[in-house]
């Protein structure tokens, strides 16, 4: 077993009295793809900034590539690639210049920067936009350019904070494809997301974070197995009848979740439950049987939905 590239022990960040990150511990192995899943405000971004060696921790231990980021900030950052939640490309520079300028920050020569920039423009499918102004790029292109920029230094670890938030489905899929290739090449990925499909697609292992704490940890499939059933039945009876019907449904399936607009029935066999509901003479307006997802895990763990 190779030693972890990131080790966090009781990692804590407090802003005055408020603990944004409240004593979380995890390890990331080299080449692993590790996710932090949780709603907005769970402390994911703060954790990422501490791992990115730009935010000092209040307490706990943190080691990245065997170094303490508090003492070796620049050294640690020289090995990281960072894709922040909000793009911070330089709008005053053109696409290729953005990459070159960034490469210089790692001490690369101009020649190295030029070579690397061209290679990464290819990778990010932006070669034909090399001379464009950053402002004229679409959201998806900007994101790809940010990712290209984060790779200028051949990072050991790539940190991605909500990489696809705000992108349309097509742009998301292009981006996932690029990230998947990096993963295949052995780059360690650490990403935060509040999209469960993204977490399922990209993460080997993840932690579910809420209110600055880790609620659960494991591979996506294992978490689903552990905290949810195989299938879920979603039924709607209209918002005024929901609560009423929920009382009568008690005992159907292994577990019920009553949401304002629908009822979720957790079960190994969704169709059977649906038949049972029909037998009871309850007629849902809509019904749907689907496989459990990380969303259900989160609901189970926190009693709240991921996207609110």
């Amino acid at each position: 077993m190779s030693p972890p590239v990131i080790t966090a022990k009781s990692l804590t960040k407090k802003y005055k009295e408020f603990a944004a990150v409240d004593g979380i511990s995890f390890e990331v192995a080299p080449g692993e793809s590790f996710g932090l899943l949780g709603p907005n405000g769970a402390g994911k971004s703060t954790t990422m900034r501490m791992v990115g060696a730009v935010s000092t921790r209040t307490s706990g231990d943190l080691s990245i590539l065997g170094l303490d980021p508090n003492e070796h900030g620049p050294e640690v950052r020289s090995q990281l690639g960072v894709v922040p939640q909000q793009d911070n490309l330089d709008m005053e520079l053109r696409v290729r210049d953005n990459l070159i300028v960034y490469g210089r920050y790692f001490g690369l020569s101009h020649a190295q920067c030029g070579r690397k920039a061209d290679e990464l423009l290819e990778f990010a499918q932006l070669t034909d936009r090399a001379k464009a102004k950053v402002d004229d790029l679409s959201g998806g292109m900007k994101r790809r350019l940010t990712i290209a920029r984060s790779l200028m230094n051949d990072p050991r670890i790539l940190l991605l904070d909500e990489p696809t938030t705000g992108l349309d489905p097509q742009a998301r899929h292009i981006l996932w494809d690029r990230l998947f290739r990096l993963k295949e090449q052995g780059t360690t990925l650490v990403l935060t997301t509040h999209y469960m499909d993204e977490a399922e697609q990209l993460c080997d292992r993840l932690v579910v974070v809420d209110k600055g704490r880790i609620m659960a940890e494991g591979a996506p499939a294992d978490l689903i197995k552990q905290y949810s059933t195989r299938e879920v039945v979603e039924v709607r009876f209209g918002s005024d009848r929901n609560a009423d019907v929920a009382r009568r449904l008690a005992g159907v399936g292994e577990r019920l979740e009553v949401l304002p607009d629908r009822i979720l029935i957790y079960s190994e066999d969704g169709d059977a439950e649906l038949a049972l509901i029909a037998e009871m003479g309850l007629e849902p307006i809509t019904s749907l049987v689907r496989r459990s997802s990380l969303e259900d895990v989160f609901l189970r763990l926190t009693g709240r939905s991921l996207i609110e």
Binding site: P74, D90, G107
Partner: protein, 283 residues
């Protein structure tokens, strides 16, 4: 995963330690390089301004207005020199101050907010202090050519009687920098743009330009207004410039003060900006 253990860890840490060497040593220069690359997009404007401004100002004040004043006071009414020679060092210092103020307001506000490149730099191995240094280096890169061109135009107008006059370039640069650093210490704190920049210009730079003994000796103002000059780096820079450019007479301790005061402002502005920026990046 590849099955390496201890050697891997040592190699990773070693590579990181090596990766930090260059950024730690040259980081400030990388930031300056970045900012200068950004300036290239408005190079034409900068060139026209830095040549046009001295021509226009020296002509309007040093020739046009001077014709009124020299008629009234005689051709050598200012310590034995013309109004042109009197006003030129002030205009030179003002040009430096204007450029410094410009470069220490919007670009700093922008780096945190509208075009938050400072966070990007900091995510790379660049520290907050280096970002500040780099910005200030790029400010100098703008001030120095501005002053050199200004001085050449001054020579063209015959506004520099003394051979020591070339040193006014240094004095003006230093004056501009001291104002810029103090402004930067403030703008680096601004979180919401509520028009503070316009306020700095209207209630800081403009009155300083008008009441710092630039167009007329400070003693021309009532004593209760003269403090504006004493605290204004522009007055100190202008007075020192006059000593060098035409041998204006003043006590040596005052000349020393003209150097020490802006130097103190520089040190204060520099360290404060570094502290503020570092704190702000460390969220």
């Amino acid at each position: 995963m590849t099955a390496v253990t201890e050697p891997f860890a040592a190699e990773a840490a070693g590579r990181a330690l090596a990766g930090g060497v260059k950024p730690r040593r040259y980081g400030s220069w990388y930031v300056a390089e970045h900012r200068i690359r950004g300036m290239r997009s408005y190079l034409k404007t900068l060139l026209v301004t830095s040549v046009g401004n001295p021509l226009v100002y020296l002509f309007a004040l040093g020739v046009g207005l001077a014709s009124l004043i020299d008629k009234n006071l005689g051709p050598n009414g200012f310590n034995g020199v013309s109004y042109l020679a009197f006003v030129a060092p002030a205009l030179l210092a003002t040009a430096a101050v204007t450029v410094a103020a410009e470069e220490c307001t919007y670009p700093i506000m922008m780096g945190f907010k509208w075009n938050p490149i400072f966070f990007g730099m900091n995510a790379a191995p660049i520290t907050g202090n280096q970002i500040v240094n780099g910005v200030f280096i790029s400010v100098l890169v703008r001030i120095i050519p501005t002053c050199v061109i200004y001085f050449l135009v001054m020579l063209l107008f015959g506004a520099v009687p003394s051979p020591w006059g070339a040193l006014t370039i240094l004095v003006a640069t230093f004056t501009g920098l001291s104002v810029g650093l103090v402004i930067a210490a403030y703008t680096s704190r601004i979180v919401d743009d509520k028009g503070q920049m316009a306020m700095i210009m209207r209630f800081g730079i403009t009155p300083m330009f008008l009441f710092s003994g630039t167009f007329f000796p400070l003693s021309q103002m009532p004593i209760f207004l003269q403090w504006i000059g004493w605290i204004s780096p522009l007055w100190h820079g202008t007075q020192l410039g006059r000593v060098l450019s035409y041998g204006a007479v003043e006590p040596a301790w005052l000349s020393a003060l003209h150097v020490l005061y802006p130097a103190a402002l520089c040190v204060w502005g520099w360290t404060t900006t570094q502290r503020v920026v570092t704190r702000r990046l460390n969220k």
